[in-house]
């Protein structure tokens, strides 16, 4: 299978598995911002959950198939145009050589995952094909996709089983988000207001994180804590009186007050937050978060048996 990038949209990158074991050297995990949608797309073309796929940000991307292909997509875009014909997300699709595939701006959500049978070939660095833009490695030569890039996948297109994601497993895209979180190490600087207020997402977002405005307390004298390890899902207070929620490419250590941590089971939801969306946090204890993770994993196991949140 060969796929040409005609237009990448706001940002398109190749994302494979999460990198582990190098955060102490400043190398974050990377990987898809919404790992669940990426796994759902991969499932429909017979790939393992973390096979390398294209992460498209806010639609606006156009591709051209240079060979017949089996593909699927899931995430923010519920539909796309395949040479002018509407094709739906969450279904195995078949493209002919010369077909164009056009994604428009989705009404809700932020990221769409385009998977092709066999997974897309990418640079494997530190055990993962995921693109890490700040250090320019992984994925497609360490950079975002551009017009004219040619992507290859080892899969051969044979008209085969057409799969459809069963309705109960399709994530609902919304402009409001409820995220379960546990108190972070510096929760005392925030207090119970976190659980009753609604926080809007600002325009500041990329693969390192997203900014939230709203009634956050301003840290005392912009106080920096001693730098400590941070992971995706961390909610930090910033000196400007806002909060910053970390995503897969975020820095691995930092010193802003770490007041909340979005639970492991819900971190995939962070990848679908768009500017202007509204967020609420639901309080969990560590034990409750563990039960939530077990329950959510069991729920999805019926359709995605190998997927891990």
């Amino acid at each position: 299978m060969v796929l040409a990038v005609v237009k990448p949209g706001a940002l398109a990158t190749l994302q494979g598995s999460v990198r582990h074991g190098l955060r102490h050297q400043g190398i974050p995990g990377s990987g898809p911002a919404d790992a669940l949608s990426r796994a759902l797309a991969n499932r429909l073309v017979g790939n393992v959950p973390d096979a390398t796929a294209i992460e498209i940000t806010f639609g606006g991307a156009v591709f051209e198939f240079r060979e017949d292909a089996i593909f699927s997509f899931a995430g923010a875009c519920g539909a796309a145009e395949l040479s002018g014909a509407l094709v739906a997300a969450h279904e195995t699709q078949f493209a002919r050589r010369g077909d164009s595939l056009v994604f428009v701006h989705p009404p809700a959500g932020a990221r769409t995952y385009l998977a092709v049978a066999g997974g897309i070939r990418a640079d494997n660095v530190f055990g993962s094909a995921s693109t890490f833009l700040p250090a320019a490695f992984g994925g497609y030569s360490g950079r975002a996709l551009r017009s004219g890039d040619i992507l290859e996948a080892p899969g051969v297109a044979q008209e085969g089983v057409q799969l459809v994601t069963p309705e109960p497993f399709r994530p609902h895209m919304s402009r409001t988000h409820s995220l379960r979180a546990v108190p972070g190490p510096d929760y005392d600087e925030l207090g119970p207001a976190a659980w009753s207020e609604t926080f809007p997402a600002t325009n500041r977002m990329d693969r390192t994180g997203l900014e939230l405005s709203g009634p956050w307390p301003r840290p005392e004298n912009g106080a920096q804590k001693l730098s400590a390890a941070l992971f995706p899902g961390a909610v930090q207070l910033t000196p400007s009186g806002k909060a910053f929620v970390l995503l897969p490419d975020a820095q691995t250590t930092g010193g802003y007050p770490h007041v909340l941590q979005v639970i492991r089971a819900d971190r995939h939801l962070l990848g679908q937050i768009a500017p202007g969306d509204r967020l609420r946090f639901l309080r969990r204890s560590v034990d409750e978060a563990y039960s939530d993770l077990l329950a959510k994993t069991r729920y999805f196991a019926e359709w995605l048996p190998a997927f891990r949140f």
Partner: protein
């Protein structure tokens, strides 16, 4: 030393509160070599481990760490290797040096002498790929963060804030005043081990004047 406190960092990570202590790097490498943890990350005064709760429940992770810390003695006498790095301090490589030196009432030469005489060590890696925090800088030298960060400094740039040097392994934005540039590559993917530095290392800076 008493057994350090172990505190949750969210629902899938735990921090061992070791204190601001060079021994935390030795503890980190013991934890890393156990193969139990997804990542082991030293901070300024703790070592944080991340785990997959589906493999290791939070309760089991906690008791495993408690048991390990009862057995493990934080040695005070770890000797780390010395790494020699060459630093350029010409006008192009050290754009903030004349100003910072003057603010400290020193000539650039005397300022660099004091950097030279400092016993530097890598206190932490992190922030972004290959970035090294060096401590041990002569405490009399004062250098506040830039009020407006630079959009881009070259790879190897040496930033300084009071008490610390920051080695920017990659070209990119930088909020610390720049007082030099390291000649040796600090992060090079073409090498078998892309990282030149690791936490705990002592650093000998050879300043090229």
């Amino acid at each position: 030393m008493s057994v350090p406190a172990i505190c949750p960092v969210g629902d899938d990570a735990l921090a061992v509160k070791v204190g601001e202590h060079a021994a935390r790097h030795a503890l980190a490498s013991v934890l890393r070599s156990s193969g139990t943890w997804l990542d082991v990350v030293p901070g300024k005064c703790e070592v944080t481990v991340q785990f997959d709760p589906l493999e290791l429940s939070p309760a089991k992770a906690q008791s495993l760490l408690v048991a390990l810390m009862k057995e493990y003695s934080l040695s005070e006498e770890i000797v780390f290797p010395i790494m020699t790095l060459h630093m350029l301090a010409d006008e192009a490589s050290a754009p903030d040096l004349p100003r910072i030196a003057a603010e400290n009432g020193l000539t650039p030469g005397v300022f660099l002498d004091r950097i030279d005489a400092s016993l530097l060590s890598v206190d932490m890696m992190g922030f972004t790929a290959g970035f090294a925090y060096l401590t041990g800088v002569d405490a009399r030298l004062v250098s506040p963060r830039l009020s407006i960060p630079r959009q881009r400094v070259p790879a190897g740039s040496v930033g300084m804030i009071t008490g610390q040097l920051g080695l920017y392994a990659l070209a990119g934005p930088a909020g610390w005043p720049i007082i030099g540039r390291i000649v040796e590559p600090l992060f090079d993917l073409s090498r078998h081990d892309p990282f030149t530095l690791e936490a705990g290392m002592r650093i000998k800076l050879v300043i090229e004047r």
